[in-house]
Symmetry: C2
Subunit: 449 residues, 2 copies
């Protein structure tokens, strides 16, 4: 199976766990069999590989998510990076060109496109596999998944099939209706449109070449910012007369808000939390090291992270976005391809962060114009390169870098560092990157930001 996972979204709706660099799909909130927690993207990736261990998985996403994807899924997963946001048609066209030109997928094979964040069981991916086989062999150019509705939702678009068979031609598409109209649609056999569909690679490449002038993936990537913003529905689906729909009757949930997310939580709390006996229908997700004590709460969600604290009635939590938009605060936590960092103190002329590097990874070789830095290694072993000079470091070592000095740190084992930044004008933009010094034995592909 070739599968493209569309990974978008800013993550405002699940603040404070999500922020501008960490979308909701990267929050580790689902308990695995081993007792660890995994994110939506990790869960979906694991489920796909369980159903089809040879699946070609490609994540279509923006630049800002690439670090988090490699951090959570490793470097084997394919990533089709959109240089900027241009809606779903250019994104799918780019992913299709990536599959063909970079991954070498033959034009005759089918591709399944699916959002990265459905909360589903294994049977869903078995259905995707079937959807792909169907698209490869069907006379139709597009095969959609139609989810059997469990209630008359006004949140989804509807697909009205011609027949009640497992696979049927599509009669009509319907935009998000009101609840009453939804009830009517459902009585006529309508299915939810979850944005999941499959096609032969040749079909989408052909449509892409008809609408965009480009040679190959590299060329399309280069001119991506000149492309028109247009949805796949508008550019392709609406003009295609040969569309089929395949029914799916299994569990399917859309994890868009705190309300729906907490429904999928196995226990009332993740992280340090105490709920007294008078709490009812309360969920706590606490990423901080200190406890959250809840007393006498009903129908509420409480979440604490390095970004902030949310205390909300569950129904109210769906109105969170404008309030989060109005919060003007720097990123306090980020996952990078090489590990993660967390801001632990901010003063006017200093900032202190805790840097965690995964074993075998390293930072870019870089310098800052307007700040000095001090590293105190608190765990692990590795090497620093300061102004071209390599040196072994371990827990307890202290390294000073004055402004302008190129520097990097390489983690031979997992490494933790307290970094104190000192200067009058500290900003993430103050960074100059240099090519990697040659005499280091680290694979360079791991070192992209």
């Amino acid at each position: 199976m070739n599968i493209v996972l569309l990974s978008g979204g800013s993550g405002k709706r699940l603040w404070p766990l999500s922020n501008d660099t960490r979308s909701k799909q990267f929050i580790k909130i689902f308990k695995t069999e081993t007792g660890d927690y995994e994110s939506m993207v990790q869960r979906v990736y694991r489920q796909i590989l369980t159903v089809d261990s040879s699946a070609t998985v490609t994540i279509a996403t923006s630049k800002s998510q690439v670090s988090a994807i490699h951090n959570q899924l490793g470097t084997d997963v394919g990533v089709s990076v959109e240089p900027c946001r241009r809606d779903t048609f250019p994104a799918i066209a780019l992913a299709a060109a990536y599959l063909h030109d970079v991954q070498g997928v033959p034009e005759t094979e089918s591709v399944v496109v699916c959002p990265v964040d459905p909360y589903v069981e294994q049977d869903y991916f078995e259905a995707l596999n079937a959807l792909g086989r169907c698209a490869a062999n069907s006379e139709a150019n597009l095969v959609l998944m139609g989810i059997e509705p469990t209630y008359p939702s006004a949140k989804y678009g509807y697909i009205i099939p011609e027949e009640k068979e497992a696979v049927s031609r599509v009669s009509r598409f319907k935009e998000k209706p009101d609840e009453e109209t939804a009830r009517e649609y459902i009585s006529k056999g309508a299915l939810w449109n979850g944005g999941v569909f499959a096609f032969r690679l040749s079909y989408v490449l052909q449509r892409a070449h008809e609408l965009i002038e480009f040679r190959d993936y590299q060329d399309l990537f280069k001119k991506y910012d000149t492309l028109e913003k247009i949805s796949f529905d508008y550019a392709v689906v609406e003009h295609e007369p040969h569309i089929e729909v395949m029914r799916f009757g299994g569990m399917w949930k859309d994890m868009g808000t705190w309300n729906t997310l907490t429904e999928a939580m196995e226990s009332p709390s993740i992280g340090k939390a105490i709920l007294n006996e008078t709490c009812e229908n309360v969920h706590v997700v606490n990423e901080l090291d200190v406890p959250v004590l809840c007393m006498g709460l009903k129908d509420m969600v409480v979440s604490a992270s390095p970004e902030g604290i949310l205390v909300s009635d569950k129904a109210q939590s769906s109105y969170i976005k404008p309030f989060v938009d109005a919060i003007d605060q720097q990123i306090m936590f980020a996952e990078k391809s090489w590990g993660s960092f967390r801001v632990i103190d901010i003063e006017e002329e200093s900032m202190t962060i805790k840097v965690t590097l995964n074993a075998g990874h390293r930072m870019n070789y870089h310098s800052h114009e307007r700040r000095d830095e001090v590293w105190t290694v608190i765990e692990g072993e590795g090497r620093t390169i300061i102004d071209g000079v390599e040196r072994k470091v371990k827990a307890g070592d202290v390294i000073r870098m004055t402004a302008g000095t190129p520097h990097t740190i390489i983690a031979d084992t997992a490494l933790q560092v307290i970094e104190v930044q000192l200067g009058k004008d500290i900003s993430v933009g103050d960074k100059r990157k240099y090519p990697s010094p040659k005499n280091t034995d680290i694979d360079s592909h791991k070192f992209q930001p």
Copy 2:
């Protein structure tokens, strides 16, 4: 006026703002006219000095609060330190001996004793002043303040006066009654007993010498741990036939719980907080640097500090103590006589703290057996003494101390330092103190912990 403020309490009830080292009276929660915040003890101290600028104020407290008292009130305030907890009679006897032998207060003068944490206005301290004058001139040996009840409370003891005059002989004392009995008492003219009373110094010293064998303050201090635990009520009040009560009809609130504390807050929030329009009767006290977003809450208190996060229904918040007792966590924030510290990161073999030293102050000269330390100065100027060698330091300087090396830092201006502690067995108990090196020009009295 000579006034003794009894400052006790562990601070569990106002967690997470209070903890084992920061009692509720030190939380800065009351807005002053200049827009800053002051604590209960700062508010009371300021109010006393406004009413009587020459008042001799003595705080009777335990060792653990001395740092916070000097940090918040400066070094001019008198402090009678109880070497261990021995209930109110030994504490008041010790404070009386301290006033007489250390502060030189004549035996003929009166002393007013009052809890450190009433939430009151100026008129209360004018009443205390009058109470003191009354005790100096009265034939009675004790004059109590009787607060005119505003509702039939079951939380307070009652004083039944003989007459309705401003000052009357006491007819009877009543223990905390149920609400109905309280109503009965009030109909008979009973007053609340707020634990406020005045006496001539000679009287309490005489009672103390009758019950305890001691020469003077130093002697009493030395044998304090051998004294019997006994309350002032039981040891003195119950045996005293000549007691008067003076009425007080002004505002008086006891700030024991989150519920009563939030009633005294001028605005719904302190610190970074956003309350959406559907919040009703919600108070937020946030000591963290990140925002708290509240949506759809009713009758609730939310508080966040380096110690943890409380989210509670206001009525439920009075049952907090057992939950806080069960939280086993190290102190994350403390005020010291020289400034404060905050734990900002904890790992298995390291701990990172932010140390703030007030100008002109310094740490004790000390060493640790089982940890190295690294200081990075992030703000201000000062001097370090490492193994006897003094050196000037300023923002950007890094100082390393290996285990066993005596060290201290002296703040010439306000100073902030990131301290990384490194070792396998980090504990607050691992501290050896040394006498101050002689060649420093800092007043030694400021350097007590």
